[in-house]
Amino acid sequence: MVEITSPAFKANARSAMADEQLQKAMGHVRHNFIDKRATAAAGLDEFEDLRDSAVAIKNHVLEYLDLYLEKYEEKVIESGGHVHWAATAADARGQILDICRKAGAKTVTKGKSMISEEIALNDSLAANGIEPVETDLGEYIIQLRGEHPSHIIAPAVHVTMDQVREDFLKHHTHLPPDRPLDEPEQLLREARAILREKFLSADVGVTGANFLVAESGTSVIVTNEGNGDLTQTLPRIHIVIASIEKIVPTLEDMSQIVRVLARSATGQDMSVYTTLSTGPRREGDPDGPDEYHVVLLDNGRSSMIGTEFQDMLRCIRCGACMNHCPVYHAIGGHAYGWVYPGPMGAVLSPSLIGVDKAGHLPNASTFCGRCESVCPMHIPLPKMMRHWREREFEKHLSPATQRGSIRGWAWVAKRPLLYRTIASLSARFLWLLGGFNRRIKSLPLASGWTRHRDMPAPEGSTFMSQWREHQASLKGDL
């Protein structure tokens, strides 16, 4: 199983901020993704209209999801494929294992799939004597390192080039140790050559899906490396693992969403490979798999329908929300403690693994609103994080000190005179603490905040008293 460390979110975040390698690696996220998305969005006049169109499609699908799933299933079967319904992660693992066992599979190549992370497929295959081989370069790197993705579209974004070189030297022992490995290009060539062999010898290929098209029973993957295509073309069996909300009604609907996907994710106008697969090899087909299976995973999603978290099911996993998140930039993806990091993870994880385990995540937000403003699917992420905070509070899951202080604050806030007195006293106190350079280096009861940054000292009076003075001076002007 992927170990869930979300309950230790605070400790995770602290050690992430002290991790030099990680901080170096995260520097790249801050600039790259943000600039590229902005340029791509600005380069298409219809971008905002397409966002609205994409939202409308997904909202419509969620209103008729049962019917579209039935239609999709019917079309997959018609094209010679098999559909397996999995209520839980364990069910999905079992179904995939069954298919692999029947095929006598020894190695399984894998395209990039967050769902496969969600169901912890690799561990389950390995425990049953089947070797899973990740083939996306980023996934391959972290598999060597025994890690999990720290970003949903750039899984190894937390790793530096020096670390990759060390990993390759350690694991690729059949190659001369003094070979040149100083350029990203040399590292990529080496991985390509090693994985080529794996592609050609694998018995089963597992891919995810960005879309499932109901009108034709088609699964769609969107990639850049071409590994997903080799994964699904060369082995005898192709297994698609996808969650139920990936449905779109038609190819045209898919095209609407595809237009905002890559632009929001990597800033490309279109990813290199958008591959639409429908069933197994046909009569006269010289290549392609003999068997085509789709495992449809629910794992808690159907229970989100009709709740305040339903909008989250519109997510197309583009990663824009984490690319633009100051909290994600500061701590990276692993601190979130489970499969999905960043703002989308802070909303989705509590739904999938429970607010008792992931309740801290929705607190990892400055509510700056950047995630929502760049989300191509207009998902109100900050609002939903607030819902989770409320639920956490209601369930008495937040720590006693926090609950006590909120209750205390509420008591004081309801008494205006007392509130004003305390506020002006503390404003003066903080003003004194600020000293000569107007910065507060450490604050009693808020050391968690001041450990990593100074707090600017306030002006010495409260907003209310300044407002009163301002109003009075205006009157004087008249």
């Binding site: 790249h28 008729y64 295509d229 073309t233 009604p249 279109m270 290199v272």
Partner: protein
Amino acid sequence: MSQRDEILGRIRSAIAPNGNDTERRKNLRTHLTSNGVIPKLPKSRAGIQTRFKERAIVADATVEFSKPEAVAKNISKYLRDHNLPAIIKTGDDQRLRKLLKGSDKLLEISRGISDGNDLVGVSHAMGGVAETGTLFMTSGKANPTTLNFLPETHIVVVNENDVEANYEDLLKKLRRKFGVGKMPRVLNMITGPSRSADIEQTLILGAHGPLRLHIIIVRN
């Protein structure tokens, strides 16, 4: 209860506990009602082709126009310019057969799927989309999928009449060819050669798929 019924039941009770499925089915989207927002592009053939070329180049492909009778010569010139041997692998595509007929002196041609040992694959596209410089490739004996991915150099021939403005234009053609609700086993929409930015976000061309993508647009 099967897992299928369990999942569908949960969804149904959340969205339409008392819904009448026959009525609800009438509201489903079909290809006739789902066109949505279509990016504006030049109207003229020439304008569309120019845009296609521009966008394909932005995606790191190379593009040339060619008369039908010059296709073989242009392929061999491209290979020479890239220090590649004049040996190509193609499928059984009739249009390609015609274009390459009588080119034995220029090119050594073998046909079939790729097993990973071919340096150069040559395919014929179903069409191209100007919006993003994207090629549509359909699977089958004429153009095996493996040729799109295994050879390090991929040369794609497309007829100028099949270069359209938007994805939707080619999807219509696809439906005409395969039928409504039907698809080829694989439709590859390809935009440029393969790439990865997984190492410190440095973009490198040539990941698991081709390192080079060269597009030849055939003028009639």
